[in-house]
């Protein structure tokens, strides 16, 4: 017996990236903008989407793919706010969505009647950052109940993001969260990041979020 070394040097994420490119092309062919919404658990993704669907679900022809480790509770919550399809992906314990799951979910969505696809990723600030889903832009929710140093602790998530939505701002009087320092930490990791501050409960800042979504759809979309 002799031992032989075979050089490979193949990217482990290559297959996912190929599938993500196919998803991106499929969405582009239908003129659909996809946004990948990511955050830690409990940052307010579902509440933000509930408010969003109630106001913009029909005008922007929004479809939602909602990922969860177990249960489809989030998808059920969202479905109560829209007549449009909310497609659940239960990952069976996996900590992120991948492009194959999104590709499969698209088979259940009426793409002809969709202009904006929001992908609610699994709540996790680590793993989802590594998986391209075919989205046009990535939005990270960063809530004021977290430490303002989260961008430094989870840099990849913020490096790969286009926008940061600072959520639950109505709680700022009650928590030791320094907004200026949080923004500084975000920009330290990714100087190109843009910010929206919202409270889905009081409605503060929601207009800016809605404007961002309106700008995101259509042939002249800028996200």
């Amino acid at each position: 017996m002799t031992v032989r070394k075979i050089e490979v040097r193949e990217r482990v994420m290559a297959r996912n990236d190929e599938l993500a490119a196919q998803v991106r092309a499929r969405l582009a062919a239908h003129g659909i903008t996809a946004i990948n919404l990511m955050s830690s658990p409990g940052a307010g993704k579902t509440t933000l989407l509930e408010r969003t669907l109630a106001v913009l679900g029909e005008p922007l022809d929004i479809a939602v793919v909602a990922g969860d480790c177990q249960t489809q509770n989030d998808a059920d919550r969202l479905a109560a706010h829209t007549g449009r399809l909310v497609q659940a992906i239960v990952t069976g314990g996996a900590c992120h969505l991948d492009a194959l799951q999104v590709s499969d979910a698209l088979d259940h969505i009426d793409l002809e009647r969709t202009r904006l696809l929001i992908i609610e990723n699994v709540g996790n600030l680590v793993c989802p950052a590594s998986w391209d889903l075919g989205e046009r832009s990535r939005v990270v929710l960063f809530t004021v109940t977290e430490g303002d140093d989260k961008p430094l602790k989870y840099p990849k998530m913020f490096e790969k993001a286009d926008w940061v939505v600072l959520t639950k701002t109505d709680l700022l009087p009650y928590v030791p969260f320094d907004v200026d320092r949080a923004v500084r930490h975000c920009l330290q990791v990714n100087p190109a990041l843009r910010f929206i501050h919202v409270s889905a409960i009081t409605g503060d800042g929601m207009g800016e979020w809605f404007d961002f979504l309106r700008r995101s759809v259509g042939p002249t979309a800028s996200v």
């Binding site: 002799t2 032989r4 050089e7 900590c95 990849k156």
Partner: protein
């Protein structure tokens, strides 16, 4: 679970590379970039689990940690049967 998904994909890539006539693979080399978002010890643990099942026969994962955000299957070490073919 992130690392288990990756370990399974590494196993799939290695199997694809070795083809149907899989020789005995004794080691699997993986580059885990320092900024890859992958925990090397967790990936090693998951790879050991994946490589303990057929068609693998206990190949050992060998992880390197270069600077960067890449994750690569870098090499495979296989045992060749030196007996001449009939």
């Amino acid at each position: 679970m992130h690392e288990l998904s990756l370990a399974m994909e590494i196993g799939r890539l290695a199997e694809e590379r070795l083809g149907a006539s899989v020789p005995r693979c004794v080691a699997v080399g993986v580059d885990v970039g320092t900024a890859s978002g992958v925990e090397p010890s967790a990936l090693s643990f998951c790879l050991e689990a994946v490589l303990s099942h057929p068609p693998w026969t206990g190949a050992q994962p060998v992880l390197a940690h270069p600077v960067g955000d890449h994750l690569l299957l870098t090499w495979l070490e296989v045992e060749d049967d030196d007996r001449p073919e009939d």
